[in-house]
Symmetry: D3
Subunit: 252 residues, 6 copies
């Protein structure tokens, strides 16, 4: 029995609202149980120096937690004067994952920055950020596509992320903080709408895991991702149909 009465393959109650910020080109507020993340997508009509003049765009992410998003208060990284290794690792992951479903040439020379600010944390903040950031990104990209009459919609596929762990000898989907801290194995998966893997990040620091356990985890995760993508489609409304459509035909 899971603490909140969930079944082993059951996601937490999920809420996904769009257009929650009056200035940003795309914005999402997402809740997975008690994990709450506010995400904005900002479009900048230029690219980082290393991409200049290549006719390609860029997608990047920043991640942060409010000091009291957690049980006990965390010092702000701005006060410590630097980002923690954990923060950098997470924001690199979010950016990399999102880029895997963006046709950067179709996007043109512009940068989209996804700011994922965790308002409250109860496990799965990085996976929730990715799932929500995909929606904010799609809204912002749609705005660009409409303004600039892009021939190809630059998002090639859906993308969502979920955690799976093994605790008490059983694989569990979408761990909350309490479950996560007891889990022997912790796996974060990022997958596309077509069922392919973008990131597989599993750690068995407490206890190495077997190939069989890995297989169980992957199956549970695949199912969770499918549910998340349905929810993203609902939230995106008419934009949903544009994703991957043109690219499928052109084979980009």
């Amino acid at each position: 029995m899971r603490s909140n009465g969930r079944k082993s393959d059951e996601l937490r109650p999920m809420n996904l609202s769009t257009h929650v910020n009056k200035y940003a080109e795309g914005s999402v507020y997402i809740e997975m149980g008690d994990t709450k993340v506010l995400i904005t997508a900002t479009v900048d009509e230029k690219v980082p120096p290393f991409l200049k003049g290549q006719g390609k765009g860029w997608v990047t992410a920043e991640y942060s937690m409010l000091p009291r998003a957690t049980q006990s208060r965390n010092q702000r990284e701005a006060n410590r004067g630097k980002l923690s290794g954990r923060t950098m690792e997470i924001q690199r992951l979010i950016g990399r994952a999102l880029r895997s479903v963006v046709n950067l040439h179709a996007l043109g020379e512009r940068t989209i920055t996804l700011d994922c600010d965790v308002i409250q944390a109860d496990g799965g903040t990085r996976t929730t950020s990715i799932t929500g950031a995909f929606v904010a990104l799609a809204i912002a990209v749609n705005k660009i596509a409409e303004q600039h009459k892009l021939a190809v919609f630059p998002i090639t596929d859906y993308l969502a992320s979920i955690s799976v762990g093994i605790a008490g000898g059983q694989a569990l989907l979408d761990l909350n903080y309490e479950e996560d801290s007891k889990a022997k194995v912790d796996m974060n998966l990022v997958m596309t709408g077509s069922g392919k893997f973008v990131e597989v990040q599993g750690t068995g620091e407490e206890s190495p895991f077997s190939r069989e356990e890995l297989d169980q985890i992957l199956e549970l995760g695949e199912q969770g991702i499918r549910e998340l993508i349905e929810r993203q489609q609902e939230a995106l409304g008419p934009i949903a149909a544009k994703i991957g459509s043109v690219n499928a035909s052109t084979g980009v």
Copy 2:
């Protein structure tokens, strides 16, 4: 005529919700028009080194804006590796203002940190932070008072803050961003429930102001503060009556 149809002495629509964070000892979400601030109060059972062993507590504040709280995206201070002068000035102001209505001896050797995170900014983020932070502080102090059966309730008076400006030759209450950027004078006032001044911070960088203009500003501000304090009392419910009550009789 003000852009949003307000009268010169009219506050923006205000929303003040409490208990919005599951971990913090006190929490408030406050909206003044399109300015939105999330505030948590964290209680720590120890004091900073400079206060150790004096039997007194401490109240301090931190202030931050999410990158896309504003029209164009701001770089995170954690990325720049240091706080801006503006941020430091604001968080020093919030802490100092709140301490003026706290009986630090009655609080005992504990620290309360008010985290004011601006979710969306449309002028008046520092004054909105102070008004909201007072409520979060009162909730957290009440929790301490009940747990530790404090003889004296450590909050001695109400406290709220508002901005007043002079624009188009007229004094205006509670400026939004558009009004603020056109104002010749910008004054932030922090006042107590008993109508005294805690902070008077007026700047006439664009155009110095006369004693008569200062008087007008002070009157408008005084009236705005009274309204804000009424709203704080509603939000605090039964805690409202405890503020200042014991101290009034003991003269602390």
Copy 3:
């Protein structure tokens, strides 16, 4: 009775010497009692990036204390690797105050930096810095005006600053450190030669203050400022007459 035998409305003995640095375009050494500040004005023939191409100049300030300016030694901010909030607040104040009496268009695309280095501190270092920096600025501006034959003298009015406090139930002008640390209210005023307010910064952290007390403070301050401006005029000699003169007629 004040510790040094001063009356409540009496300034400390003041000394203001000019041309104390062989390299700077303007320089002042100012003593207000035991508070001693060395100020240089540096002219740079370019403006910060945010002002480029606007035909306007800029005036900015930096403030620092020597480690042993105070009773006990302070660690250098260069060693701590960052400026304190107090330093940033003060240097923002000095710059803002000075700009209020400079016609930045008349100055042209150049930056003047006022470096205020406190040699010895005994209260009122920020107000003394402003009073002295105005003189250093005027000397540097005069040099520019003569070299470039500016049609309009870019300084529109005099500017000085003083602190006023309430201690022992009485308003006191120009607090030294000992008085300042006992004062219940501490107000810093910046005013122009025409008697207008540029900055009003009053804090009653220890004890909120009433409207009547505020009025007393303002009157005492106004009188102190008038005396300071007379001393500035003496120090400036022939430059004194240029300030505000042309601008008064052109209505800038």
Copy 4:
């Protein structure tokens, strides 16, 4: 055909020397093709603050590249004043991986720091660091075990790491830099001597990968790890037999 004539499942020429530093408690110089890493293990008879008094030890790692380890020179992180996200991610990975095969209670209250300094980089620096660091760790732990007559040898299993990628439609073992930059998928595996997974980190930023491709990668990796562990055993000589032996019997 691979650039250096290797078969798809063939490791690069490997060299592993021990005792290469006269001061360190354990040291290794490891070459995998043109990737060269110098590793020292330092024993410190205390633990980080968060572990104090728990009777447990700690194993941690630091990773750095010499400026000219790469094709073009990289700025030193000491000059930039902070570690890059990549460096932090790698050193967190190395530490976490090594801890998975250390019985921290058996180690006692001491910290072992593995410094992995990349002398020359040609792909696979993080996996090479882990493989080499395990050997340096075992030598240092053996020294502790002998000096303090530990009842249980604190290393519970072997540990090695390898990268596998998919390039040109084929899974390739142990990518060099040229292969890595062309690969569509890049997977780093950390496995134990008993064939379990400690870390599975796969990224398909360029092109998401299917479940079948993942399976191929895992098989190739498993085989590579077995070969690496044989080389570690040779390098460790008499220490090799101590690893995991006692723990196997006591079931720690």
Copy 5:
């Protein structure tokens, strides 16, 4: 002919005033021509961690230049967030030089910090700092010696410093900035009252120098140092006689 009419072996006009700061335990204002340095000695009744419990004291120095001490304004090191290599090199030199004539055991477990702040720079700031800092140190040490009735006066010998250069084929004593920037060789010497060398730092970046040139430099420097020490003795008055006296007899 030197620019200011000096002979090749002639020091610049020198001024050395003591007791120029109302708080510091020792203070000196020294001018060598247009080079002006303010020096304070601060006594702290504890030692740095690495010396704790050894019964020895410590002498250290910090060095800084005001931004407009030089021809063109220098950015403050506090703003850049770190000390330059030049600053660190100079303050290490000053501290090391002063310690060479202090009997740290006789000083007892206390630290003396010499703050050397360059008010105006015209060459020779480091040597002028050492010469002045010695006097500030002696005054502070004398205060300690009197308060704590030390049996042995902890300063064992006089110490002064001067620069010598070779320009236009001729060795010149006490270079000003203009001479220094034209010199092919630049040597800073620190010597004791008994004519021994404490520091010999000569650089021929522009042009290596011969043994004969080195000998000329050393002779000129030796003579300059003797004159400087006479001036230190005058400035120290009755303290002068205590230096080295007891130690000479006890052979410390």
Copy 6:
């Protein structure tokens, strides 16, 4: 008798290998006894901002020690977020010394960076770095000279460095760490192939030294430098003959 049986004027066993890095334009691995330094020379086809457009090149150096190069582990400077004063002093010295034998005009607008990374330290790391860096520099310069068919070989003379100390009343050449920590005087000399001084840096913090002692030190150093330059010539092979040759005839 010296700890390792050396005579007072005997260098430690020396090993100098070239071409040890596959990417760098010049590289050297040098051992002086147990001191081991890896040096790479990187050529960059541009110059620092302060040299732009002057038709001159630049030579600079960076110095670092691996954490366990020493008896006890040193924290990485990248982790502390800044370089120590010692590191900055050493890298300034290495750069300055090398530039003294480079004709920067003949080099053209390019920068050569010498990275000196100390793999193991046993005294004399800065002098060993200079001696080795000269060889790496010559190899890189030779590559430039051949590619760009430079008319004048830009290295004007040989350059090497050695330490000399006085311990037990005797001058000793090439101190190891143990000797260095006991020495009363520590002198680092940098000299050219034509026997001139480039740097003379002697410190008698523990005990000031006389003119006679200085003379002894200089003689011992001169002899050591001659031996080192012979070893550099052997290592450089055919490049050796190019150094200083053309310049001698053209009088550059």
